[in-house]
Amino acid sequence: MANTVHIDVVSAEASIFSGEAEFVVAPASAGEVGIFPHHAPMVTSIKPGALRIKLPDTAEETLIFISGGILEVQPGLITVLADTAVRGHDLDEAKAVAAKEAAIEAMQNRTSDMDYAKAQAELSEALAQIQAIERLRKTTH
């Protein structure tokens, strides 16, 4: 049996690759790292780039492009937690600011504090409607 290591490439939105590999090259944040089976446990962040996986019994390499993420290495298992979005401190910050501003803008239309009585009245009304419909459904069947 060839000397291989199991590699999983997963992102939050989908499982991208899973299988055995002889050799893996990943674009780590401090430079490219090559990983053979039985590597020491390691965690590192990876930057956008190509992940090269050398499959056993073939000369070809599988290429997977990832836009960053985290690489975890254990002696018999490599896990690549890939990002689905292009990330960066400034980009994230800009998104957060945009989300905040949108909320502030939406809140400007009103000044009152949280009105629990109103909230509960509204909810119980909606709930009563749903329950009434359900009861009606039961009796007519």
Partner: protein
């Protein structure tokens, strides 16, 4: 034939309504399947990242991430409310919002202040209407949740936690159990408890490259994001199956209403015919 025209129009209109609800039911059924697949697809990532995070939280002695540190005094609470963008999905949002509001009321009575982050239009407009302190929101996610759209909204809350503006972060969403059953759930996101992560096997530590702190920071943020993403994906699956069930019962109800109306229509028609015949017979009897 008094009123038969009105009944006919009524039957026609109920039939049209039924066509729409039937179509919505079928659309929801197909979307539900896709949403469930997506929900399942997000699980391996969450499992993997939880394993790594569990390892880090135990193995790492030199640096403890703020997300893992419990605060003694809790004065400010953050709540992420995950709801659907569109209505017509039964009691899905109502049940979830009721759970949130009850919890918020409890917090308020304990003297804690609450900031809310809303994902989905229904929750956002509700929170806005009742005057909650909405810190950030995202609406119009569509049928496919994308991490990219969620990052900004989540980051506002995570930043607030790190800055000490909130001491605890909760998420409220509808958990998908099966097609017929969805349950509103409240879950604590921050601080992360060790039990939530599970304990790792053995005593060993990773090599960190380039350094422990940035890697751990990165990982923790991704972990929380994946939890929230998971909640959104699950909420979407719940939404579609809840809509499917609601539309199915609406179609069934429409069918029943049509049946009743047809009976009334036929009775009215029969009565009119009987009346006409008896009039003719009566007229003929009077003539002869």
């Amino acid at each position: 034939m008094a009123g038969s025209k009105e009944i006919r129009t009524k039957i026609k209109s109920v039939e049209n309504t039924r066509k729409i609800t039937k179509a919505m039911e079928m659309v929801a059924a197909s979307k539900m399947r896709k949403a469930q697949d997506r929900m399942r697809a997000s699980r391996p990532y969450a499992d993997k990242i939880r394993n790594v995070a569990a390892h880090l939280s135990f193995a790492q002695a030199e640096y403890k991430h703020p997300f893992l540190v419990k605060r003694d005094i809790v004065k400010n609470v953050g709540l992420i409310v995950v709801s659907s963008d569109k209505g017509l999905c039964g009691g899905l949002n109502t049940n979830m919002l009721r759970l949130s509001v009850n919890q918020m009321k409890t917090w308020e009575s304990e003297g804690k202040s609450i900031s809310v982050s809303a994902i989905g239009n229904k929750g956002f407009s509700f929170m806005n209407r009742v005057g909650a302190n909405v810190k950030s929101h995202i609406t119009g996610l569509g049928d496919v949740p994308h991490m990219e759209n969620l990052i900004g909204t989540i980051k506002v809350m995570l930043d607030a936690y790190e800055a000490g503006e909130i001491d605890q972060l909760y998420i409220c969403y509808t958990k998908f159990i099966n097609t017929m059953k969805q349950e509103p759930t409240m879950q604590q996101l921050l601080p992360l408890s060790g039990e939530q992560l599970g304990s790792p096997t053995g005593h060993w530590d990773y090599i960190y490259e380039p350094e422990a702190k940035p890697v751990v920071d990165n990982l923790m943020m991704r972990y929380i994001e994946s939890l929230i993403y998971n909640a959104v994906a699950e909420n979407m699956a719940s939404e579609q199956s809840s809509r499917m069930v609601a539309m199915k019962s609406a179609s069934d109800n429409a069918k029943e209403v049509i049946g009743d109306l047809k009976l009334i229509y036929n009775k009215a028609r029969q009565a009119a015919i009987t009346k006409e015949i008896s009039e003719i017979v009566g007229g003929a009897a009077a003539v002869s």
